[in-house]
């Protein structure tokens, strides 16, 4: 029985992997390594592992820069679930930062060439699903899904063209 099936069978509402970090960029490299390692274990290619790690990196950067306004004492939690049919990974990134209307979370116009504003675009390009929502208790939740062998791309749900995290 592969690891994904084994975890599913346990039917545990607690994510098989969950970790928390402070909103400090110094931990990003460790997060990338961990996520990439987990993805590799579940059968993703090296390229896909890199894409998942990049998406998580960009999501956390957005939380640090925009959600917590670069404060270094905010909490960020990342939970990981294996997905079946189709096989993949689901990653949920939660914070206690300032809430924003999910429909305002957007990438900048790519033809408007200037520094910044690319994080959401990158997430959208490399993941199959990316859904932002407000957490009932405060803060935001981003759910990311990557399917094995899917290449890319799916629409970035709950995102439109005005303001918010980029």
């Amino acid at each position: 029985m592969d690891e994904r099936r084994q975890m599913r069978k346990q039917n545990n509402p607690i994510p098989p992997l969950r970790f928390e970090m402070l909103s400090q960029p110094r931990y990003l490299s460790a997060i990338r390594a961990m996520i990439s390692n987990v993805a590799q274990r579940f059968g993703f290619t090296d390229t896909e592992c890199g894409q998942i790690a990049l998406a998580v990196d960009e999501a956390i950067c957005n939380i640090i820069s925009h959600g917590y306004d670069k404060r270094d004492d905010g909490r960020i939690a990342v939970s990981v679930w294996p997905e079946e049919e189709p096989a993949g990974l689901r990653l949920v990134i939660e914070d206690n930062a300032r809430q924003v209307d999910p429909t305002t979370i957007k990438s900048r116009d790519l033809d408007d060439i200037r520094p910044g504003g690319l994080g959401v675009h990158i997430i959208r390009e490399v993941m199959n699903e990316a859904v932002y929502e407000k957490r009932p208790g405060g803060g935001m939740r981003l759910t990311l899904v990557k399917r094995i062998g899917s290449g890319k791309l799916a629409p970035l749900e709950n995102c439109s063209t005005e303001g918010g995290r980029t």
Partner: protein, 121 residues
Amino acid sequence: MMMMMMRGDPERFHVGCEVLADGVILRPVGDVDLSRSPVLRCEIIEAQKKSPQRLIVDLAEVPYMDSSGVATLLEAWQTARKHRGKVILCNLQEKVKAIIEIARLETVFTIAKDCEEAKGV
């Protein structure tokens, strides 16, 4: 005359600098993410103070870059445009090349295969 300098913590992220007759080569070493891009940004600002004709960023030792690194390079590109200088990226590793393509900037930056080619662009 060529001058070699090294700034930053040598065991972590650092940026080497080589002065050319008509410009500067910067050689960051390590991942360029949100924790490191401010260091690269400072080095680029310093290198661009004298409005070099060409700023070459040699990315041979940069295995990973996120959007904060891309933003840093775009800022350099904007600065260079103001004084009609060039920013040339060279020796891009796979992941760095990928993010530049995802950001659709491969035609914005001048990209060279290696430093020798970058010096002739």
